[in-house]
Every structure is written in structure tokens, then in C-alpha cells.
């Protein structure tokens, strides 16, 4: 019996392959975008965890210096002499030529097994690692990057993440000029002493427990939250499709349900059968979705990796691992989504009396009560969003502002449209016009979910697009300021650098040293750059606080500029005194913008820098020369010194490269934008298709009274375009507000910089055209059906029960 009943239920889909396809595609798309984003997030988080575990010994308790203090060798030895099993680490960024490497100096003798990233096996290994020459243990990719840039022998270990190098602590101490200070101390998990006494033994240190998230994971939270939000948005939009399709299929099968029940299938069995059917579909479509999601994630991951590298300096592998938990979660989401989308319909089946006439709902109008509730909720959300925007702080609040804004606006859309249509109806002159407006209003309930989804997708497009374009414009302007020198040259070693300086002397070239070191300032690892007292900086440097006078102060050697990120962290302000490593005290006189840099930065006078830190590498220089001469100079430098291409860069190619990195950075955002829009378009299509099935009773009388089917179809197209356009128009202000929130709230919280907003109406035009195309596509099939509907089908409306 049940098999027969199931067969009867399933036979529906055989006659409606398009509906079946829509259902599967809806679930698949929703699952694909969601699980694709989750896959990307999972891979990135795994990378952070791996990096934290490998590079930062993140699984172990660590001792970090108390703010304002340094850990000395004596501190470390005092712990060892007290019996603690601890191991010192020195780390920092180091530049080999133009290759920037995270250098991690460890003591292989005391580093506990749990904190070892790679095996040092064999006496030869130890003696080369700890030997006088030293050794850099790096990944194959990093080894290729460092080839020829350092005299230190390289050793390849697959476990080491890219752009990082392990070396003996003695080598790190020398290269990073730590002079005996230690960055952190790793605590072995097995101790003869009680770890709870450790803080007492090391009052100069802050204990960091291993459970705490890696720094980079905290930094990138915003990015992943962003992706998750997009993924969820797409998922919800996809569920609209599923909801419409299931609703339609249930409606069309009402007579089947009734027949089955009157033939003795219990209500309970019927519902179980329907749930079984939906579960199977959900599972199949979910599998398909997870597969698509995997492909999607594999395609997007390199872009994401580039983004994370560019924005946060976080290294994420560009290849995707298959994680069983992710498959499971994807399928679960597919099933849960299907369940959500079908719950209401199942409930209706449960309420259906056996003998009720199978009348389709003539029009389940948006009742005034529902509309009022939507208005109230929407307004409340908008007010909440505004209050949070002006009163709250923090990234989570930022996203709450976004969420409340989008949801509130989406809720307001149907009541607004309804009101507008009512107004239009009352102003309409002709019978057809009046009917058109009235009929459009009747379609609104069936389309409102799809329209809300469309509004979200369009405004997300406008908002994110405006943010990225504003950022790009600002970034390029900033590049022009920042990259003022015509040539950038990097010597391969100090000898070459000295010869270079000599050679440049007296060639009518202004030589701007780009020397830097790294160190702890206010308990944070920051870069310290030196600048020459030169008009280049006075004219071009992108100051956001401070005026021309700051350069005189800098030149005096006792003042400093800090970058925006460092400043916005809230511990540095104008006029404050900063203690740089080695007890050098400088006064903060200005703040400059420094986009795309994950780290804090301090700028001081270059001469003073070289005096305080005599051992800094003096390899990099910016050269100011007349543009006509620059190309010659570049060739001469390469000929004279045999410098490779990468070591002599002209301004244009540096800018080009920066722009490329920037553009790559937002590839994934763009891709997700387009995909979300596509899903929203598909949701619209599914909704229209569903509605077209219910349209005949609404259209038949009009046709009978003398309207051609063709005219009716044309009006359908006009109606769809109108709704899309109205949504698009509503999306523009919403998108701009969204962009403002992204630029002024989210960016500041997430990256530490604030950007001016620029508006790009031409982009909207493009988006509008794309949306128009999508609208036409979505209405094409339903309208074609209508235009060619057989009169007999229309006539049947008047006589027969459907």
C-alpha cells in the first residue's frame, strides 16, 4: 500500500520535470553556496591552526613579556635554573632582499617535542642547525623565493608554512638584533613543578594559555564572518526557491492527497511519505550541492588565500582538503533547509479535510495585519541599526548594524510596494491600467520573499561594490602619494649596498634609504621605519593627523609618526611619548594612512634609526630622479651591479603589482556577490513559475472579456520588470547605507582604517542592466507559457473544478 501511495506521489514529478529540476537546483544552490563558504572558512581556520601550532607552538602554554618590559636571557635562565622545562623563542619579520620572511628562532635543545615543527634527526642535522653558519628551515616554495638572496644554507621541511623560516635562536638573535631579549617562552606540557606556580616564578611575564585563538584567527574573524554572512544570505535566498517549488507541488497534488486518503492512506502515513520524499530529494540535492560547493570553494580559495595574505599577512594554503565533518554539515544544512522550506506546506496537508473542495487559493492577499507587522518590525530594526551604529563599538556590533539594516529594509519593501501599488491603482484611468496595478498587488504576496531576496542581493552588490571601489580609489591615490620615488632598488648584501651608495653619489639622484627594523612597542610587535629629511615626504606622505611641521620634528630625531592601524588601536595618540626598543623615547607627532598592512608601524628619522640600531640592514633605497633619466638609471644599475629584475623596480611596476594584489584581494567578494545575485534571480524565476500556475483563474475572465493572450503576456513582462526596477531603485539607497557601514564601521573595526566613500553611479547602471537581463530571463518561461496557453485551458477554468 505504502509503495503504491509513494509511487502515486512521485508520479507528479515525472510530469513536471522542470519543477523537479527547480526543486533540486534550489536545494543544491543553497547548499552549494553555504557549504562552499564553509569549506573556505574551514580551510583557512585549519591553516591558521596549523600555522599557530607550527610557528607559534600554539598548543603550548607561553610566557609573553609584560607590557613595557622585555624578557631577557637571564629571565629565561632563572626559570631553567629553578627547574622549569621551558624554551625561548625569538621571532620577527626579516627581509632577505625583497622577500619578507617570518623568522622564528628556536633553541632545538630545550624546545619540547610538542613544540617542534619539524624533525631534526641526526647529529649532522643538529650541528648544521646550531652551527656557526646557521640554517634556515623553510618550505620548498620559500626556499625557491630565497634562492640566491641569503648566504645562510636552506633546508626544506614540508611542515613549515610558506614565508616562514625556522632557525637557531642564535641566528635569529643576530638577524633581528635582539641582543639577548627574547620574544616569548614556550612551556613544556610535562613539568616536575606545578604550572600554577609559574606566574609567581615569572612575575615579568604574561601567561598565554594554549586554548586561546591564534592572533591571526582573531584578526581574520571579520573576513570569515563576512563570508559566512554572504553564504547564509545565499542559503536563505536559495531556500526561497525551495519554498516556492514545494508549495506549488503540494498545491498541484492536493487532489492526489485527497484521493490517497479516501483510499485509506492515513494522514500520518501520507505525511511520513511526503517527508520521506522530501528527505530523499534533500539528500540527493544536498550531495550535489556539497559537490558544487567543493568545486566553488576550490575555485575561490586561491583568491581567498591572496586576500588573507594581502589584508592580514595570514598564510593559507591554496588547496582544499576534503573534510568529512564539512560533508556532514553540508548535507545537514540541505536537509534542515528542505525541512524549513516545507514545514508550512506539510502543516497545511495536515489541516486538509478529506473532502474539502480542491480550490486553489484565489488570492491569499497580504493581509493588512501582516503588512502592519512588517512595517513595525522593519522600522524597529532600522532604528536599532541606527542606534547601534552611533552608540556601539566593536566588530560584532558592526555586523549587527548591517544585519538589522538589511533585514529592516527587506521587511519594509513589501508594505512600501503595496502602498505604492494601491496609490497607482487609485490614480489609474483606464480599466486595463487599474486592473494591472490591482493585479500586481495581488502578485505581491507570492513574490515578496523573492523580492526581499533580490533587494538583499542587489543592495549587497551595490554596498560591497561601492566599498571596494571607494577602497580602490583611495588605495590608488594613496599609492601615488606613498610611492613617490621613481626607482626602488634593493642591494643583495651590505657590501653591495655600500658600493651602491657610493655609485649613486654625485649622479643627481636623491637617495632615500628605506631601512627598517622590528620590535616591541607598547607590547606590540611593530615595524620601525626610517625616513630621510626630504621634500619627497613633505610633499607626498599621506598624513591624516599632523601638518607639515611634523617633518621638522621627525628630522630632529626625537619624534615619530605612527600608522593609522596603530593609532586606532587606541594606545597611541598625538603628543604621547613612545618607548622604542632599546629605551629610545620619541614623541608621536602625526598619523599616516597605511592601507593593506596588517601591522602597526612607526616612522622615525633614518639617521637616528641607524644610530640607535647600527646593525639594521641598509639594503633598500628609493631613488628620486627625473623621469627621463629613471629608465636609464634602472638599466645602468642592473648592468653595473648585475642586480636582478626584482631588485630594481620602477615606480610604475611597483604600483602595477600593488594594484594587482589589491584587485585579487576582492575577487572572492565579487564572485560571491555575483553568485548571490544569480541565486536571487533564480528565486525570482521559481516564484514566477509557481505563480504562473495560479494565474489562469485571474487571467481567464480578463481574456474572456476581450484581452488577447499576447497582451496579457506583455503585461506580465512589464509587471516583472516593474517589480525588479522598483526593487533595484530601493536597493540603491540601501546599498549606499550598507557601503557607509562597511567603510566607516566594519573596516575600522576589522582593519583599523577608515576610508572616504565615493559613489559610482555607472556601476549601478551596469548592475541595473545585469538585473534587467536577469529579470527578463526569469520571466521568459512563465510568459511564454501564458502567451501560448490553449483557449481550452482557459475555458476549463469557468466550467470545471481544477
Amino acid at each position: 500500500m505504502k509503495r503504491v501511495a509513494l509511487w502515486a506521489l512521485l508520479s507528479h514529478w515525472r510530469h513536471r520535470p522542470l519543477q523537479f529540476l527547480t526543486l533540486l537546483l534550489g536545494i543544491s544552490l543553497a547548499t552549494a553556496l553555504w557549504s562552499g563558504v564553509q569549506a573556505i572558512n574551514a580551510e583557512a581556520r585549519a591553516s591558521y591552526a596549523r600555522a599557530a601550532s607550527v610557528l607559534e607552538q600554539g598548543d603550548l602554554i607561553q610566557l609573553l613579556p609584560q607590557p613595557g618590559r622585555q624578557i631577557t636571557v637571564a629571565d629565561y635562565v632563572s626559570l631553567r635554573r629553578a627547574g622549569w622545562v621551558v624554551s625561548p623563542v625569538i621571532e620577527g619579520g626579516y627581509r632577505f632582499g625583497e622577500a619578507r620572511i617570518r623568522l622564528i628562532g628556536i633553541d632545538p635543545l630545550s624546545m619540547p617535542r610538542e613544540g617542534r615543527a619539524f624533525e631534526i634527526s641526526g647529529g649532522n642535522d643538529i650541528s648544521s642547525f646550531m652551527g656557526a653558519e646557521g640554517e634556515l628551515v623553510v618550505s620548498a616554495a620559500t626556499a625557491a623565493k630565497l634562492d640566491g638572496k641569503t648566504d645562510i644554507p636552506l633546508k626544506i621541511a614540508a611542515e613549515v608554512p610558506n614565508d616562514a623560516a625556522f632557525t637557531d635562536i642564535a641566528v635569529a638573535d643576530r638577524l633581528l638584533q635582539r641582543n639577548g631579549s627574547i620574544d616569548r617562552i614556550v612551556v613544556a606540557p610535562s613539568q616536575q613543578l606545578d604550572v600554577s606556580d609559574l606566574q609567581e616564578a615569572a612575575p615579568w611575564a604574561v601567561l598565554r594559555s594554549p586554548s586561546e585563538k591564534p592572533d591571526v584567527a582573531q584578526l581574520t574573524d571579520s573576513f570569515h564572518l563576512n563570508l559566512t554572512a554572504f553564504g547564509f544570505l545565499a542559503f536563505v535566498v536559495g531556500l526561497f526557491i525551495v519554498y516556492s517549488t514545494i508549495g506549488l507541488s503540494f498545491e498541484q497534488r492536493r487532489s492526489t492527497f485527497r484521493t490517497l486518503r479516501s483510499l485509506g492512506v492515513s494522514l500520518q502515513s501520507l505525511i511520513v511519505l511526503l517527508m520521506l520524499e522530501l528527505a530523499v530529494f534533500g539528500l540527493v540535492a544536498g550531495l550535489l550541492g556539497v559537490t558544487i560547493g567543493y568545486l566553488l570553494a576550490s575555485t575561490l580559495l586561491p583568491g581567498v588565500a591572496a586576500t588573507l595574505q594581502g589584508l592580514y599577512g595570514a598564510s593559507v594554503s591554496g588547496s582544499l582538503a576534503l573534510r568529512p565533518e564539512w560533508w556532514g554539515a553540508g548535507l545537514a544544512m540541505a536537509l534542515a533547509g528542505t525541512a524549513c522550506a516545507s514545514a508550512q506546506n506539510l502543516w497545511q496537508v495536515k489541516q486538509l479535510p478529506i473532502l474539502s473542495a480542491a480550490q486553489p487559493r484565489a488570492w491569499a492577499g497580504l493581509s493588512a495585519r501582516v503588512l502592519r507587522a512588517q512595517v513595525v518590525c522593519g522600522l524597529l530594526l532600522l532604528v536599532l541599526s541606527a542606534v547601534l551604529a552611533f552608540a556601539g563599538t566593536g566588530l560584532v556590533v558592526g555586523f549587527a548594524v548591517l544585519g538589522a539594516l538589511l533585514l529592516g529594509a527587506a521587511l519594509l519593501l513589501p508594505p512600501l510596494m503595496s502602498g505604492f501599488l494601491k496609490l497607482a491603482e487609485s490614480c489609474a484611468g483606464g480599466a486595463v491600467t487599474q486592473w494591472f496595478w490591482a493585479d500586481t498587488r495581488v502578485q505581491l504576496p507570492g513574490l515578496s520573499l523573492a523580492l526581499m531576496a533580490l533587494l538583499l542581493a542587489l543592495s549587497a552588490n551595490i554596498g560591497v561594490g561601492t566599498m571596494v571601489s571607494s577602497f580602490r580609489l583611495t588605495f590608488i591615490g594613496w599609492l601615488d602619494q606613498r610611492l613617490a620615488a621613481e626607482l626602488y632598488v634593493t642591494a643583495r648584501d651590505e657590501d653591495e649596498a655600500a658600493r651602491l651608495r657610493q655609485w649613486l653619489d654625485g649622479r643627481h639622484v636623491t637617495v632615500l634609504p628605506i631601512w627598517s627594523t622590528e620590535g616591541q612597542v607598547l607590547g606590540r610587535q611593530v615595524e620601525i621605519y626610517g625616513v630621510a629629511d626630504d621634500a619627497t615626504y613633505r610633499d607626498h606622505w599621506p598624513l591624516i593627523r599632523g601638518n607639515q611641521d611634523v617633518w621638522d620634528a621627525i628630522a630632529s630625531g626625537n619624534s615619530a609618526l605612527v600608522n593609522e592601524q596603530f593609532w586606532r588601536q587606541g594606545e597611541v595618540d598625538i603628543g604621547q611619548e613612545l618607548e622604542l626598543p632599546g629605551g629610545w623615547k620619541v614623541k608621536v607627532v602625526g598619523v599616516y594612512s597605511d592601507y593593506g598592512n596588517p601591522n602597526g608601524q612607526v616612522i622615525v628619522d633614518v639617521t637616528a634609526l641607524a644610530q640607535h640600531y647600527p646593525d639594521i640592514p641598509k639594503l633598500r633605497y628609493g631613488l628620486r630622479a627625473a623621469p627621463a633619466v629613471a629608465a636609464d638609471l634602472q638599466r645602468q644599475l642592473m648592468d653595473e651591479f648585475g642586480l636582478p629584475d626584482g631588485n630594481v623596480l620602477d615606480q610604475a611596476s611597483v604600483k602595477q603589482r600593488s594594484r594587482e594584489v589589491f584587485d585579487q584581494t576582492f575577487t572572492v567578494t565579487g564572485a560571491l556577490n555575483v553568485l548571490t545575485l544569480a541565486v536571487a534571480g533564480f528565486a525570482m524565476f521559481a516564484s514566477l513559475l509557481t505563480l504562473s500556475g495560479r494565474r489562469l483563474p485571474q487571467l481567464a475572465p480578463v481574456w474572456a472579456m476581450g484581452m488577447r493572450r499576447r497582451d496579457l503576456a506583455l503585461l506580465e513582462v512589464v509587471r516583472t520588470l516593474l517589480l525588479w526596477s522598483a526593487t533595484f531603485v530601493a536597493a540603491i539607497p540601501l546599498g549606499l547605507v550598507l557601503a557607509w557601514v562597511l567603510l566607516s564601521i566594519i573596516n575600522v573595526e576589522a582593519f583599523g582604517w577608515k576610508l572616504p566613500m565615493h559613489v559610482f553611479p555607472l556601476d549601478w547602471l551596469w548592475l541595473g542592466l545585469v538585473a534587467l537581463g536577469a529579470a527578463l530571463l526569469s520571466v521568459l518561461l512563465p510568459v511564454k507559457r501564458l502567451a501560448t496557453v490553449h483557449p481550452a485551458d482557459l475555458l476549463r477554468i469557468f466550467a470545471n473544478e481544477r
Binding site: R441, P697, P701, G706, L795
Partner: protein, 219 residues
Amino acid sequence: MLLTISGLTKSYSTAEGPIAVLKGIDLQLQAGETVALTGESGSGKSTLLHLVGGLDQPDAGRIIVNDRDIATLADAERALYRRHEVGLVFQQFNLIPSLDVAANIAFHARLAGRQEPEWERQLVEKLGLTALLNRYPEQLSGGQQQRVAIARSLAVRPPLILADEPTGNLDEATGDAVLDLMLSLSGEAGSALLLVTHSMRLAGKLDRQIMLRAGRIGG
């Protein structure tokens, strides 16, 4: 002569091959005349009505209305014919769900471009719809809906009103009342009425009765 039908045939294709529904119908209708079309289920009476209403096309034969053969009209011309010369009342779904009663009543007349407010007011009053003007079709009972449909079809004062079981969904008393109103008002409007019904009792209220049997006029 308002309507002259001659040699009208119509068949539908089905899985078992074409089925001839009308097998050569000849019929005439005077202006203002009321004629009942009766017959068993499947005798072809609704099909005949649809053909006369310009809602469908015959296989062969002529349907002359006011000296014009509407069987040969193009789709657009047929739409105009429906708009200007025919009033239609069906068993159900006569009304436009998105419009209120007043707009529904006025709709056809406005479409045809000949609105007569006074005539409409009379119709509303006589059909007892005054209190219902601002309601929507879904808020009406079946009898009320049919009364609105009748008002709409009469409002345009068409030469010919075609009604297909207009009281089929109503109980007997309501059906009788609705039909009586329809007959008296179509007389006022000067419209001829072709009514399809399977009820001989109702058919008796009309000027003339024609019975269809297996696609032919008989009895």
C-alpha cells in the same frame, strides 16, 4: 437576424483520436430573443457557446453575428468582438479577483469604452449589490458573485449575452432568483440571451429551447 450559425463542426483531439463534439449545427437567434441550450453532459452545448462567444474556433461552418462571420476572425479581431458584442457569464470564476465589486461591474464596459453610470447604478440596485460594491470577489457568496457577473455582462449592453450554467453552483431558490433577474434585465438592456443549462425547468423560462444531442440539434 442577430446570429446565424450554419454547418458548424468542432472536434477535439484526444489520445484515442479526434472526438467530434459538434457535428453540423444550424441555428438562428433574433435580437432580444432568449434561447435555452439544453442537452446531456458532453452533448456539446458548452462548446457551441464558446464558439459563439469567439473564445474558440470551429473546424468548419459559419457563425454570422451582425453580418460578420466571427469564425474567420483573427485573434485580435475576436478579442474586439468579445469586448464589444458579447457579455459572458460562466458557472464560476467570472470575476477578476484583484478588483472590487464596483470595478468588476464597470470593467467590461470601460474596456468596451461605453460606460453608462446611470445604467450601472440601476443594475447594482436591481441586483441588490449596493452594499457589496467595495468588497472583493473572495468575500462574496456564490450567488452574490454570479449577480456581480450578470451586472458586469449587462453593464456593457452587448447585443448578445452568453451564459454557461450561470446558476450551476447555486441552490435552486437562489438559481431561480438569479435567472429571473437576468431575464428581466437582459430585456431592459435589449440583449439577446443564449443560455446553456441542463435543467429543463430553467430552460422553460426562456423564449425558446434547443436541445443538443450528440453534437446535433435534436428534439
